[in-house]
């Protein structure tokens, strides 16, 4: 291994990196961010923005650190006066035609042009006496506007469509300072993954119509989460403003989704903001809310009294913790179970292996398999009879499901949203994935953690807590896990992994994952 590593000095710090590492990445290892625009770790590097120029001793010219490989014994200066001056010069050039409309720009606050100008730019530009270039805003696609005036021509969007989406609908038209990003005039930017160009854009040139003027970046709270749209398990950030989810963005994970997420997942956030949530526990026949103690005692009583068949129906977004503790609650009672797993079309991101919008539109079917919970929903529902006890866990029911459940005498409902068509013995409010900590297991068997982004409504508690608390009431020796991390660690099916082990990148479970889907 040693001969495949090179040692170099960057701004006085000695770093050792694998041979072939570009200077810009080597500098990151030294904790130094070389300002850049066109470079992106998941795209080919064209070295056109000239922002990442650094000085390397013994080389006659400054070199772009994004395409210059680290060499043994190199001495690199990122912050030498010459390099800083060169970058200030580039920033001044970039600002020539960039409108200073930051107050109405969506990117403001998370804009790389703002950041680096603030960090290294000149206090004032010298291009004061000329009008800036003006071009009208262009409609690029169903969710994308191109604000030409703000464009700094880094070509990240062009390269994404060309080299990652493998659908080259964008290009640079014209030359010189008249150049702009152009779209095939017969096409739209409507590829299933095209929303990524908005994230890739370092400035506010490509903006999402959905997010347009919705919130300022500095008002947003960002929470690490996992997309619940399909079994791919793309790592995302849930961006909230005052408890309202305003957008989802991809969070880098090279093992799962690189830096990308699909448009279907990106748009899948409106359910998170539903206002019609179950907030209180209710026990039939009274309509009045009851305390958790009453509800949990009721559920324990019903379960203890049941010696008939039990059927557990899980919604598609129930966490590993929720699944594990509900299944523990009904352990030894011969319960039948199934998780909802709607199917849809697939949409691969062609340039990246093993990345696609998957047909299985649930994030945790592999997690359900850990506990013997299958996805044969129809057969499970059609097997319901009048003597069944049905446990619903955050499900969305079709008319057929409702008809099948109508024959059942006793329904316990752990619900986020109440279905008025279903009569329940006991209904308790549970949190959804945006309000709790938990783990999903994706189709590759990778267990990944998500964190709470919002405050739960009313009395809502995590599913695992509801199940564990009911379970604990059956025996005085039993203790309720205090946290989701404890709830996870106490499940033997999770291979001894802990939330800490999963970190933010997730970890592969040891034992093979049952095939997902029908």
């Amino acid at each position: 291994m040693a001969d495949q590593m090179v040692t170099l000095t960057i701004d006085g710090q000695v770093v050792e990196v694998p041979k072939g590492t570009m200077l810009i990445e080597a500098a990151k290892q030294a904790g130094i961010l070389v300002p850049h625009y066109c470079y992106h770790p998941s795209l080919p590097s064209p070295a056109v923005c000239r922002m990442c120029l650094v000085q390397v001793e013994k080389l006659p010219k400054m070199v772009p650190s994004c395409v210059t490989a680290a060499g043994e014994g190199q001495v690199v200066h990122v912050h030498s006066p010459e390099a800083v001056k060169a970058r200030a010069g580039v920033l001044e050039f970039l600002l020539i035609n960039h409108p200073l409309d930051c107050p109405i720009c969506d990117q403001s606050g998370e804009c790389e042009l703002q950041d680096f100008v603030f960090q290294e730019g000149n206090a004032a530009g010298r291009y004061a006496d000329y009008p800036k270039r003006y071009n009208p805003v262009e409609n690029f696609g169903p969710d994308i506007l191109y604000i030409v005036n703000r464009c700094i021509l880094c070509t990240r969007c062009v390269r994404f469509m060309e080299s990652v989406a493998l659908e080259p609908v964008l290009t640079i038209s014209e030359r010189g300072d008249r150049a702009f990003v152009d779209i095939d005039h017969d096409r739209l930017l409507d590829h299933a993954w095209s929303g990524n160009v908005v994230d890739l854009c370092p400035v506010g040139s490509l903006v999402s119509k959905d997010f347009l003027h919705k919130a300022r970046a500095w008002d947003l709270d960002k929470t690490a989460s996992i997309c619940s749209g399909c079994s791919q398990g793309c790592n995302i950030s849930i961006d909230t403003r005052d408890e309202v989810v305003v957008r989802l963005r991809p969070r880098p994970n090279l093992a799962v989704n690189h830096h990308f997420m699909c448009d279907t997942g990106r748009a899948d956030y409106r359910w998170m903001n539903r206002g019609d949530r179950v907030e209180r526990c209710t026990v039939a026949p009274a309509a009045q809310p009851v305390a958790w103690d009453t509800a949990l005692d009721t559920m324990r009583g019903i379960l203890d009294a049941t010696d008939g068949p039990i059927t557990v129906l899980f919604g598609r977004r129930v966490s590993v913790e929720g699944l594990g503790w509900v299944m523990r609650l009904v352990e030894g009672k011969g319960a039948v179970s199934a998780m909802q797993l709607p199917l849809g079309t697939t949409a691969p991101l062609a340039g990246i292996p093993d990345l696609a919008l998957r047909a299985e539109r649930g994030p945790n079917a592999a997690g359900a398999a850990l506990f013997g919970v299958g996805t044969d929903w129809e057969r499970t529902v059609s097997g319901l009879g009048p003597d069944h006890l049905v446990l619903l866990v955050d499900v969305e029911l079709s008319d057929a499901d409702v008809a099948a459940i109508a024959s059942v005498a006793r329904v316990l409902d752990l619900a986020t949203v109440a279905d008025p068509r279903v009569t329940t013995v006991c209904r308790v409010p549970v949190t959804n994935m945006t309000e709790e900590t938990g783990v999903f297991v994706n189709r590759d068997g990778r267990a990944q953690r998500f964190l709470p982004a919002r405050t739960p409504p009313g009395d809502a508690r995590p599913t695992w807590w509801v199940a564990a608390s009911t379970w604990a009431r059956q025996d005085a020796e039993r203790l309720v896990p205090a946290t989701a991390a404890e709830a996870f660690a106490l499940l033997p099916e999770t291979d001894g992994l802990t939330h800490r082990d999963l970190g933010f990148g997730g970890a592969l479970l040891d034992h093979p994952v049952a095939a997902v889907g029908a």
Partner: protein, 435 residues
Amino acid sequence: MGWPHPIHPRETPVLSTHFGEVEARTHAGWVARGGYEGLRQALTMSPEAITEVVKASGLRGRGGAGFPTGMKWSFMPKEDGQPHYLCCNADESEPGTFKDREILRWTPHALIEGCAIACLGIRAEVCYIFIRGEYTEPGRILEAALAEAYAAGTLGADAMGSGKRLDVFVHWGAGAYICGEETALMNAIEGKRGNPRVKPPFPAVAGLFGKPTTINNVETLAAVPQIITRGAAWYAGLSLSSPKSTGTKLISVCGHVRRPGTYEITMGLPMQDLIFDLAGGMHEGRTLKAVIPGGSSVPILTAAEVATCITDYEGIAAAGSLLGSGGMIVMDDTTDMVFQIMRLARFYAHESCAQCTNCREGTAWSTRVLERILRGEGQPSDLDLLLDLAENMTGRTICVLSDSCATPIVSGITKFRSEFDAYLSGARAPALQEA
């Protein structure tokens, strides 16, 4: 010079011997003048032997950089099992340069023969001649000559009966100056936007279609057949000056001279003689003010610098400029240097491919500042601004287009500062009206 003027006694016709002879354009006419003898010999030689002859001749790239041609060929990998390509750069777009045009329109077979020999030297079977889109007349003549060469069996699957494949294709440019940059030219041939590529990898490693490629200028390749037939020593002996600058050079002289045109000189001729003797000197009552000796991208020389300048790679470098492509722009005392420099900057601003920030924005901004000075609206700080912009445009980009724009600005301000000051102080009336 040849047509329409007789060859000047101080010229050394090698490439230009048959300029003006219509029959030389035909295959038969070219063979009658000793043409394709070089190719016949080269077909019996090994690639190493061909490369060695070219190396020994001291031939250097005539497109502008002056890189030793034989050495460039020797960079090509040996038996590596993949196709090699030759590109001929006939995208002669440098302002003031029109020497390749004469080769294309009068002796197209010299170029075709040179391409064929170079292919043998670098183990390529295919050559692409990338010709400037505006060169309709020379291009048609070249295409006609190519068709004749194929019809005569000189090119094709069995070139001259040797059993070797030699194919030469013409690819028409669409009018972008930047496509004369070697890697942009390759992108253009591949059907992509003509943007220069980041180097490394260099063309000899990954060039056209990602394969090892050599790219040479028209004039360079056209000189190769005679180097093969007459020998490296003959060519190397043609120099009047430095052993590093050998052979002859076509110089296209334009501007304020009595006889503008393309002159073939041996390396080492004094520049003064070239301008005042061969090109006929200044018009009545005018005096020499400045010369841009090697196409618009090189530093400007003053009359005093020209007086002692030797016309070869080293001589012009010693005078502070470059031989470049050999496109010589001569300016007399009536020239408004500020206007000339603005005109050059405007050209580069128009032709910047828009990839690199410094070039895209710097060329346009410099042009605007120069236009402002010419409108009489310049500010005292403008010259420092221009020099600072030039610094940010030099050595900071993928290719040298932005450097080429900065070079005349810097040398212009340094050498003709009083003319700028005249505009800035209002001593001189504005040369430009509203933009």
